[in-house]
């Protein structure tokens, strides 16, 4: 993939994440902050499908943005074709693992499995 496309994704995910994380933070204000973090309220968030979908979107956006950012930092830190290939594939793998694990958590909580 061309670097310009990767960076367009990087900027897009940043904007998307800022918007959705703002919604996520504002949702804490619908009730007292301590109440919003109580077990039943957190589980209720996952049972509410639109909110669960938004959490999934936040997870994807932040994983893609964060691991691409880390890839860029690592590419600037050291150079070499083997190292760069490892960093590129490593970032994609880490991104996929984090999204899979986070999605599993969202799904399990949504379906009431603990």
């Amino acid at each position: 993939m061309r670097e310009s496309i990767i960076m367009k994704i990087h900027y897009g995910t940043a904007l998307g994440a800022v918007a959705l994380v703002a919604v996520h933070i504002l949702m804490r204000m619908t009730q007292n902050f301590d109440q919003s973090l109580q077990y039943q309220n957190v589980i209720a968030n996952y049972h509410f499908l639109p909110y669960a979908l938004m959490l999934e979107a936040v997870l994807i956006l932040l994983s893609v943005h964060g691991f691409n950012g880390l890839r860029v930092i690592l590419l600037e830190l050291k150079q070499g074709s083997t190292y760069e290939r490892m960093v590129n594939y490593g970032s994609i793998a880490a991104m996929a693992v984090l999204i899979a694990y986070g999605s599993r958590t969202i799904l399990m909580a949504g379906m009431g499995i603990s």
Partner: protein, 259 residues
């Protein structure tokens, strides 16, 4: 109302002559190293007499002529046109021929080779990578009908078209921008502000048809996207070129904001 009084011509001349004749002595610290022989950097100190107009290059040449012939320094035009005498002067990249000792406001002046370049010896650095990156940007007008034939017409360009790239064509390839670039300090494969500014210079030229080629070249994992917009390249340029702006404008082409 403010009253401005101009000195009489004779008074003015006397005061200028007094200042110009004044000779001070400064300590010039020159970084010495020879990596080919595994020699670590050390500093040699010299006492150099300077006047108001003495440049750092003249101070170094005084040392070469009178105190130590072995100091290695690259220079040529002595008028900020050739871009040969770039070095770190009191920690800041600058042209030695364009920096007056008096403007540094210090009696101790330290000159070191530019950062982000391999050192050949003392103050002389290797420009291979800079020139190679410059060449990679295809620094010439690309178009099929560039050959002059009896039927060919001039490529018309308005003053406004010229404004788009004129300042970037003032680059003298001194390497100061690359030396000041924080990305170049860690990413040795980064094209650098000099190369990227030159890519923009030709992309913005309405006579040129090689935009797509150049955008492909800079669209690399060590290309235009690695610039963090620190702006230090523009800050140190002795010719008033703004490579940081060129990079942002070039990004505009890549993101589709500019056609």
């Amino acid at each position: 109302m403010a009253v401005v009084t101009t000195p009489k011509p004779s008074e003015e001349l006397i005061s200028i002559n007094k200042t110009l004749d004044q000779t001070n002595t400064i300590t010039l610290r020159i970084a010495r190293s020879n990596p080919a022989e595994g020699q670590e950097t050390s500093y040699s100190e010299f006492k150099v007499p300077v006047k108001k107009w003495t440049t750092v290059l003249e101070a170094i040449l005084y040392v070469k002529q009178n105190l130590d012939h072995a100091v290695a320094v690259r220079y040529s035009c002595r008028q900020a046109s050739c871009g040969s005498c770039g070095m770190k002067i009191n920690g800041k990249p600058g042209l030695a021929c364009y920096t007056k000792v008096s403007e540094l406001k210090s009696n101790v002046i330290t000159v070191e080779p530019m950062n982000n370049f391999p050192i050949i010896r003392d103050l002389a650095v290797d420009f291979k990578q800079l020139i190679s990156n410059h060449k990679k940007m295809k620094p010439f007008i690309i178009r099929e009908d560039s050959e002059v034939t009896p039927e060919s017409k001039e490529f018309i360009q308005t003053p406004k078209d010229l404004e788009n790239f004129l300042q970037f064509s003032y680059c003298i390839k001194c390497g100061l921008c690359n030396s000041a670039c924080p990305t170049m300090a860690t990413d040795t494969s980064f094209i650098g502000p000099q190369g990227l500014a030159q890519a923009y210079r030709y992309v913005a030229d309405n006579r040129d048809k090689g935009k797509e080629d150049r955008l492909k070249i800079v669209d690399d994992s060590h290309g235009i996207w690695r610039c963090h917009f620190a702006g230090s390249c523009s800050h140190v340029c002795p010719k008033g070129v703004d490579p940081a702006m060129a990079i942002q404008l070039l990004r505009g082409y890549m993101l589709g904001f500019q056609k």
